[in-house]
């Protein structure tokens, strides 16, 4: 069972109360971009086994979108944070490194 704390409600929501929104912190490439960049934006995803940053929505709750850092293999949640950011905050990165000292960001989000 996956329990994720909604940063807006402060409740530990069970997975069925939430809707998964896929990989977080994608760079949006619009209609004016190169075809390859646009295709990558639409289709290329990391799909890692381990630490991953995702978007989730508290759909059967406050309705808010937020971000979540978790381990896709163990379902350990390192933390959740506001949707109004384009990179994980330092507190989340610290929480991940505390549990996974060898972890390196896959596409190196800005630190």
């Amino acid at each position: 069972m996956l329990l994720i704390e909604c940063p807006y409600c402060g409740v530990k929501a069970e997975e069925t109360e939430l809707a998964a929104g896929g990989e977080a912190h994608l760079t949006r490439h619009g209609p004016d971009s190169a075809e390859e960049a646009f295709a990558a934006y639409l289709f290329d995803r990391l799909n890692p086994k381990g630490v991953h940053f995702e978007r989730w929505r508290h759909v059967n709750g406050c309705g808010k979108w937020f971000h979540c850092a978790r381990d896709t293999a163990t379902l350990e949640v390192f933390g959740t944070y506001s949707a109004q950011t384009s990179a994980p905050p330092q507190t989340i990165l610290d929480a991940i490194r505390a549990r996974r000292p060898d972890w390196k960001p896959a596409n190196a989000p800005a630190e």
Binding site: Y8, C9, A13, T16, E17, N60, G61, C62
Partner: protein, 178 residues
């Protein structure tokens, strides 16, 4: 609406219609709290319900409140809120016609709700609000007293919710929450 039968010491009752107002706006803006006070309402804390002279205010999200007031009073209350919030970005809409309420009370009320909602019912406190789902439908409930809850959901799913609650209220004896 029909009343749902008493089972296993948990009473589930469809409550009479109430007026309800959805208020959207930045709850951290002090002008919003002032406007609530001006119309006889109180600003609740996160995941709490606050009582006022004009009705109760239920926390729904950082930018949404649900006001429960007397039947037929919601349109007037929404208009007074909009007047008090003139110039402040907000939405006040009367939604009472689209909602129904149920009362769930009795010794096993926590267990009845724990069966159908993914919420931590063992730690639930009086005055606490939980917006969640009950089985297949969205709902919100709050604790009104010891072993007593009030639940609100969409009128379109009232029949489903009533039967679901009545079913959950059965066979609660002998089940302990962790």
């Amino acid at each position: 609406m029909r009343d749902f039968a008493e089972t296993s010491g948990v009473r589930v009752e469809a409550l009479p219609p109430a007026g309800m107002v959805t208020l959207r706006g930045d709850l951290s803006d002090p002008r919003l709290g002032d406007a609530l006070n001006a119309v006889g309402l109180a600003l609740p804390d996160r995941r709490r319900i606050a009582a006022g002279s004009a009705g109760s205010t239920v926390w729904m999200s950082p930018d949404e409140l649900l006001v429960v007031c007397g039947e037929g009073e919601d349109r007037g209350l929404a208009a007074r809120l909009s007047e008090a919030l003139a110039g402040v970005h907000h939405l006040a809409a009367a939604v009472g016609d689209a909602r129904v309420r149920f009362a769930i009370d009795g010794k096993g009320a926590r267990i009845a709700l724990a069966k159908i909602a993914p919420a931590d019912m063992a730690a639930f406190e009086i005055g606490e609000v939980r917006r969640t789902r009950v089985a297949q439908v969205a709902a919100a409930f709050w604790m009104t007293g010891p072993d007593a809850f009030e639940l609100v959901c969409f009128r379109s799913v009232a029949d489903y919710a009533g039967k679901l609650l009545a079913s959950a209220a059965g066979n609660v004896e002998g089940i302990a929450l962790p």
